[in-house]
Every structure is written in C-alpha cells, then in structure tokens.
C-alpha cells in the first residue's frame, strides 16, 4: 500500500477515510484533524491557557504532545488516585513524558484531599468507578478554575465519544444527550471543556502514539470491571467495518441534528444549578456529590478508628 499523498510505503491504512499514509503524511493528516476540531468547535485560541487532563494513556499523552507541537500554551494535570502499583506506574509514565518533552505538569493526590480511592472502595457503597470519575471531573474543573486556565482539554477520541453517545441513546437519557459534545462552553462554576481528538479514532491515536514513541500506561485499573463501553465499541466497530465513515457520521449528525432537540427539551424541563454549600461548585442538590462522598468517607473512617 502506498501513501496517498507522497507515494512512499504506507504505514497506516485508514478505511474510514479511504486512504493510507506514510509516517510524515500521517502526522500532517492528524494535525489537520485536530486543527479542524479546534476551529469548527471554537475550542480555544493561541492566547488561551490550556489545562490538559493526563491519565497516562495513549490519548491524553498524544493530545498533550500534539497541542504543544502546534504551539499552544499547555499544562498537564495528573490526578494520582492512590491505587497502589497501578497509580504509581501511571504517574511515573506521565512524569517521564513531561520531562522528556519539557512540558509543564501539575500532580494532585486525591489522598491529600481525603479521597484516596482505596478508602472509597472500602467504605463507600456506591460503585467505585462512578465515584472516581466524579472526583476526577471535579478536581480537573477546580484546578482549572482556581489556577486561571481558560479551558480544560481531555483526550477523548471518536470511539470514546461515539460509544458514550450510543449508550446514552440506547437509554434515551435526555439530560446527558443535551449536554454531550466535543466543546462545552463555560457556565457558572464550570470551566470550558474541549475534546480536540474527537474527530480521530482510537486506531488513529494509537498509531500516532506508537510512531511518536510515546510510552503509555496501558495496564487496566485494578478496580475496573473491564473496559467501559467495550461492548458498544465492538458494535460500532462492526457498523464501521460494514460501512466505513458511519461512526463519525453518527456522532457528527448528533451534534448537528440530535443535540439541538434535547437542548430545547432541557431548556423547558432541566434542573437548575446552584453553588454547593460546602465548596461552591455548581450542583442541583444542596451539597455536591464530591463533598457528600468526602464527608461520608471521613465519618466512616472515624467510626472505624482510622481518624482521630
């Protein structure tokens, strides 16, 4: 297979775009997809300060490197969840990556704010993955706001976004469907959130990470019950295989024609948000979810004699 642009030996074949590229031309393709995402979804400009959520996986590190190469002002934020060897390794990968490429990095340890995940798993009855996701989103937003960043960027790719959309659609969850997308504007208490890789598939980010020599953290979290949305990703993968391009068409069509309907519905019926009485973050209840978990955890640990 030859590169469609320069006719050299191709290293990446992309059926959904009906094309194939050599390494250099693949970078060009990749960069243009990110540029198009940033421009069309009005994500940010050259003067914005961007906080990039870094888990250590291929997508977040790819995003960080690509934005830096495009000249944006990026700072990484890694949240250390304190889950034994897994968290230690993920953090080490992120730190080595940022050192190698001379990129700014902040690390926040959830244990330091009373939310070590092993404690959550031990004392809180709710599914740990759901609490963990909530805690991460909360602190990404909090750090971005408190340190004056203009926008929070995450490494979600097209497969992540399409699988999440598929799950929300199967349940017809109007609230989520009104509020899912690659670029969510700032709102009272929430920093702007963007997903510059939403036009690129998992396969494309994996190729980029491999070609750029990014050492990724790929061990699954020991608490995870298997990959989230994996079934949906497989079904959508099947659909894409039979009809290349249909995954992007599904997601893009939603942004154009689906989401507006649910936004209209939510305007008529949606919950009002008000500041949490503990931390000031926007919430539809009096006390926000993260403050509730933090308080419950501290009480349970006191009962168990682990706190003074």
């Amino acid at each position: 297979m030859k590169c469609k642009r320069c006719k050299a030996q191709a290293v990446v074949a992309l059926p959904s775009h009906n094309t194939a590229f050599c390494e250099e031309c693949f970078y060009l393709f990749f960069t243009r997809q990110v540029e198009t995402a940033i421009r069309r979804q009005k994500m940010f400009g050259p003067d914005d300060r961007i906080l990039v959520a870094l888990s250590g996986g291929k997508d977040s590190l790819t995003l960080m490197l690509e934005l830096a190469l495009q000249g944006y002002d990026v700072t990484g934020l890694h949240i250390d969840l304190g889950i034994g060897e897994s968290s230690i390794q993920a953090r080490a990968k992120v730190e080595a990556f940022c050192r190698k490429h001379s990129l700014n990095l902040r690390v926040l340890e959830t244990a330091s704010v009373g939310l070590a995940m092993p404690d959550v798993k031990k004392y809180i009855k709710r599914p740990v993955c759901s609490v963990c996701g909530k805690v991460k989103r909360y602190y990404f937003n909090k750090v971005a706001r408190e340190e004056g960043f203009d926008v929070l960027a995450t490494g979600h790719n097209l497969d992540d976004e399409a699988a999440r959309l598929f799950a929300n659609t199967l349940r017809w969850d109007a609230a989520y469907l009104s509020d899912q997308g690659p670029s969510l504007p700032a709102a009272e208490g929430f920093v702007r959130k963007v997903k510059p890789l939403y036009r690129l598939t998992e396969f494309e980010t994996a190729n980029y990470a491999f070609l750029k020599g990014i050492e990724i953290h790929s061990a699954p979290c020991p608490y995870s019950q298997g990959a989230s949305f994996t079934n949906h990703k497989q079904l959508l993968g099947e659909l894409e295989h039979r009809s290349p391009g249909s995954k992007f068409a599904f997601y893009d069509g939603f942004l154009r024609n689906g989401r507006p309907a649910f936004q209209l519905l939510e305007e008529e019926q949606g919950d009002e948000l008000a500041p949490c009485r503990e931390c000031g973050s926007p919430t539809s209840t009096e006390l926000c979810g993260v403050c509730r978990v933090r308080m419950a955890l501290s009480e349970k640990k006191r009962e168990a004699g682990e706190l003074a």
Binding site: G57, D59, C221
Partner: protein, 65 residues
C-alpha cells in the same frame, strides 16, 4: 511459522500458514482498525507480506479505561 507477541495481554504465540498482515488479523479475529501490527519497530498495513520466522507485535488499541 511466525512468532506473535500479543499486547496488552503480554502473551507470546506461534502461528502457521499466515502470509499477510490481514491473514494474521483474521486469524486473531481482529478487524484491521482494532490493532497495530509491528515488525522490526515498523508499522505494517494489512496488505503487507509476512515471512517465515518473522517476529511480529500485535497491540490492540481499545483503551482499557
């Protein structure tokens, strides 16, 4: 025969009668966009030939998160 390293499972297997990357992916029941295939540090497209005694890395791309 070719030697295949599967990631992220970290498993080594040997396969016979495989002539191309596509044939390898089919044998592993993987669609072409579900995995990277690497030989000598180089990415291979599905049409590439494989040879006897090749050492190949197959890394599935679906993130484990």
């Amino acid at each position: 025969m070719i030697h295949v390293r599967l990631e992220p499972e970290a498993k080594d297997i040997e396969l016979h009668r495989i002539k191309t990357v596509l044939g390898l992916l089919n044998r592993l029941e993987l669609r072409p966009t579900m995995a990277l295939v690497v030989r000598d540090g180089c990415l291979l497209t599905p049409d590439r030939r494989l040879y006897n005694n090749d050492h190949v890395l197959v890394r599935t791309v679906t993130s484990a998160g």
